[in-house]
Symmetry: C2
Subunit: 202 residues, 2 copies
DNA sequence: CCTCCATGTTTACAGAAGAAACTTGTGCTG
DNA sequence: CAGCACAAGTTTCTTCTGTAAACATGGAGG
């Protein structure tokens, strides 16, 4: 086959190519059992090549998770449209963007919060996660300043909304938000309940 | 014919012995990469013996998850002490019991909600999960009848509290509820925020 | 032009899942 | 009571994985 001609011996940017392949496979098959060798095969490279760019399998997983947090942050920022009528509406949109992201990238989202992607090991991953968390936190602080949210400790609001959004996302991608158990539009319904507890006016 | 370590050729109750070994290992090492062979070794049988009791590795995982849901249900029922001063207090206690269970059995809890334990495959697992979910639902319905909780759709309350509790549990066992981000007692604080949105009186 | 070395490849090895074929007790039947 | 069928073990084998080590290549700097 002449497709060997396709690629020079030195790939050029194998690291990026590997992450792209892995992300694509993660997207295509929501519960794919991640194997480095398959990523290498699909990228058209020997199974040992990835080790020149990632110390081990888990380092690649952490890189994927990091990219996931960056993308999630972008989705949330985009959704937090400043000309929405209220801070409450902004919160709702941002939360739904997060859950939507999880539903569109279930494999990636699971990976981001799995124990495989240990955030205590990799500072870059930790920073990416914190940065995304900061988007939520910023919205809450802004909401408190403009009197939309109650003047309780912002950390309590943060814990509650972070947990709520993450919990809804996890349940959604596990297909556990079935209509007969939890209503026809469980995500906005649940978020409204939470927001009733967070907001000053109803 | 219980624990005679001079094991006869036929173990007697290998199925139960395997699950007990696996549960113990899961408890001992929170992110142990589950291997059937190691379970078999520790149980003192050949690596192929488990296949006489479980079709494959995942069937054992599902059985472990099922046991996890049963135990979680027991913890929650126990916590839902009927002579607590209010339904709100009962809810708080039950929710904290769930999160406490997760913190004490992080490996098992993760397994229960992982994609490995696919609840759509195994009706027994599905039933166990639903039964545990039913404990929460029952409390919410009772709380609505006695006017503790607002008269919105119970499914909305269920989605919100289920997500909140599960989210807090997941974040807690991922060590993401760090004091500087989320306060010193994030779990009760977050639950209070949610309960403010669920309860009639403040 | 030659030589270093990052980035590839090949080869090797241990450990896992699972299938198949073989072995051993044990309880049921004639 | 003899014998046998079958459930529940074991061994052996194949195919996969992650990871390490040794080898190959080709582009950049002296």
């Amino acid at each position: 086959m002449s497709e060997t001609k396709d690629r020079p011996y030195h790939h050029g940017d194998l690291r990026r190519a590997l992450t792209r392949t892995a992300l694509a496979m993660l997207a295509a098959d929501q519960n794919w059992t991640f194997t480095l060798r398959e990523v290498a095969r699909r990228t058209g490279v020997s199974h040992a090549a990835p080790y020149k760019h990632f110390r081990d399998r888990e380092e690649l997983l952490r890189e994927l998770a990091r990219i996931g947090f960056v993308r999630l942050g972008e989705s949330m920022t985009e959704a937090m449209c400043p000309d929405l009528p209220s801070t409450r509406a902004q919160f709702m949109a941002t939360a739904q963007a997060c859950i939507g992201f999880a539903c569109q990238n279930p494999g990636l989202y699971r990976l981001m919060f799995s124990s495989d992607a240990d955030k205590t090991i990799d500072p870059q991953l930790h920073d990416a996660a914190m940065s995304t968390y900061g988007i939520l936190l910023g919205l809450l602080e802004r909401g408190q300043r403009d009197k939309s949210f109650r003047p309780v400790a912002v950390s309590a609001l943060a814990a509650a909304s972070w947990a709520q959004v993450h919990g809804l996302a996890m349940l959604a991608i596990s297909n556990q938000l079935l209509e007969d158990k939890v209503g026809s539009a469980p995500v906005p319904a649940a978020l409204d309940v939470l927001l009733d507890g967070m907001c000053c006016s109803k």
